[in-house]
Amino acid sequence: MAATKRTTRRGRSNDASDNARQKESKVALDTDALISLYTKMVQIRLFEDACQRGFRQGKIGGYLHLYIGQEAVATGLLESYREGDRIITAYRDHAHALLLGSTPREVMAELYGKGTGLVKGKGGSMHLFDVKNGLYGGYGIVGGHIPLGVGMAYAAAYNKEDSIVQLYLGDGAIHNGAFHEAANLSGLWGKEGLNPCLFILENNQYGMGTSVERATANTNLASKFDSYGIEHEQVDGMDIEAMVEVGRRATERVRETGKPYAIEALTYRIVPHGAADFLEKYRTKEEVRKWRERDPIGLLEKRLTDEGVEEDVLEKIREEAREVVADAVKFAEESPEPDLSELTTDVYASEMHVADAG
């Protein structure tokens, strides 16, 4: 995968004024706004680093999928989150939870399998839910959550909520039947204004260890939405300003029309797929090095430095983030395991024994 593939393409909608608006809004982000975004992205990066350490120390079990390299995507788009919106994603979900307002403590405690975790230690890394903050999961089966997001969007429109769904999926999921069935329904229901669903295709170039080129003959993944009458565009997912801009524009459009729209964010997972995979088998060091040059946090640092922000300001942000993460790890380590009575709760709405005549 060439690291140079970062031109923005737009499908179906060839509205020239969109490009103009993009340029306008890119300059509209002031230094304070950029520093706020930088703070969020650094927080995610350092949190994920700590997860990697916890996993290698054997303190985090199961699977662990990190967001390192992709921070700009969710950070930029969730700037347009509005209370009442519903966010759904697959298993690379830590960043989404943190950005929506789940505390680093409760997310880390979940990964550590503690009773103080976001879902009481019942889900782990792949199943983060924080419904009060708009996070509807957290799903472990590639593609399986996509129909859920489309259904939630239907419900939102049916109930005249003025809310939308941000539905995140990876490039690996787009080859799954569930995507195609759900996208078809979304396009169909959108014709009646019944599907305010923003699809966000996080193309990190690999479905686990299989590159896009090795997974499909049509590597323009955004174009797959054409089949279902869903307009779309590609965006540089390493450019936080581009992500903020497209997020504002796309969420507004979806909210106004009740029709779905799709964004393909071109990004890169700098780390392995899971915390323990063999990344050297399927990609070259040279490729990783090239993408690292476009690390979204590095790009933003450069931008801030160009704006005249001093290094000690950035270092202070990093230092504060380190403290937050250290506190989260300490909290997770010191938290109690779930009470054993929790084993059998939350299976049904009320405690139900399948067969307990004994």
């Binding site: 239907y154 049904y348 399948v354």
Partner: protein
């Protein structure tokens, strides 16, 4: 009491509850304009409109998953599987999402939905269109699985299913859509996890659910002529499961025969037999008999299909074995 068909009782339950509760929507293939392959939803699109009676493309994974999302966001969807055979296409949604979301969200979300449709075979549809899936779905914690047989129960259990805060697998006796029975007007529910004693008796307990219950009633009639008093239990619900009614009956009769259309291995009948030996071992005068479908994909030819499913003759043979009578 008014007499209604199984089909009309089912439709009445949905229509009456839809009048009361706007959060109920129906989804499925050809349930609207076409009226439903089995006419269960006939006329509902005229009454409630296309936003509430949603014709879907033939994409069970997609629309079942979408219904789960609707349930997570405040609606109460009822999904029609044109037949349960097609539910394998949606099994990932039902088993991996609907059954588990409450648990792995730590109790933050509910999935109040009903998935309904005809279950079982008997009309020469052969291997891919003939399954009885109560054991398959009953295996998964998080789902409720019910299988009503009378028109009265089908209405009361559908109303209970719609109001249930958890996903309900509603297995209809497709072969019985046209059968008639007394159905109360108005609002009533039949609680899940309570079996029904369809006929009282003292000598042997016959246990089934779905359309096999009717077969057991005929067998009981025949046994009555031979001086054998059979008790017939309709399980009604597979999950939750009413152990007490079965155990009480077996303590009285000391003998049990369990009948099901599905395959024997890892099945409901196996579970019932195990529960009886756990809870009433000392009362048993004979091993529990299981009468099940043949361990083959369902065949097409009429004579082969008849041989593949439990028959009255097979059940009578099993009853005679538990009574230590000579076979006739």
């Amino acid at each position: 009491m008014p007499v209604k068909t199984y089909r009309d009782a089912l439709r009445a339950a949905m229509a009456e509850e839809m009048e009361r509760d706007e959060s109920i929507v129906l989804l499925g293939e050809d349930i609207g304009v076409y009226g439903g392959t089995h006419l269960v939803t006939n006329g509902l699109i005229d009454q409630f409109g296309p936003r509430r009676v949603i014709d879907t493309p033939i994409a069970e994974n997609g629309f079942t998953g979408a219904a789960i999302g609707m349930a997570m966001a405040g609606l109460k969807p009822i999904v029609e599987m044109m037949t349960w055979n097609f539910s394998f296409q949606a099994a990932d949604q039902i088993l991996q999402n609907a059954a588990k979301i409450r648990y792995f969200s730590g109790g933050q979300l509910s999935v109040p939905m009903v998935i309904r449709g005809p279950n079982g075979g008997g009309v020469q549809l052969s291997a891919q269109h003939t399954h009885s899936l109560e054991g398959f779905y009953g295996h998964f914690p998080g789902l409720k699985v019910v299988s009503p047989v009378t028109p009265e129960d089908v209405k009361g259990m559908m109303l209970a299913a719609i109001r249930d805060p958890d996903p309900v697998i509603f297995l209809e006796a497709g072969a019985l859509y046209g059968t008639k029975g007394e159905v109360p007007d108005g609002d009533y529910t039949v609680e899940f996890g309570k079996a029904r004693i369809a006929r009282e008796g003292t000598d042997v307990t016959l246990i089934a659910y779905g359309r096999q219950v009717n077969m057991l009633l005929r067998v009981a009639e025949e046994l009555d002529g031979e001086g054998v008093s059979a008790e017939v239990i309709d399980l009604r619900s597979i999950r939750p499961f009413d152990v007490q009614t079965i155990v009480d009956s077996v303590k009285k009769t000391n003998r049990a025969v369990v009948v099901q259309e599905q395959w024997r291995w890892f099945s409901v009948a196996s579970e019932v037999a195990a529960l009886i030996q756990e809870h009433a071992f000392d009362y048993l005068d004979a091993p529990v008999e299981r009468v099940s479908g043949a361990e083959v994909p369902a065949p097409y030819a009429r004579n082969l299909e008849i041989a593949a499913f439990p028959s009255e003759a097979m059940i009578l043979e099993a009853v005679r074995r538990v009574l230590y009578q000579e076979s006739k």
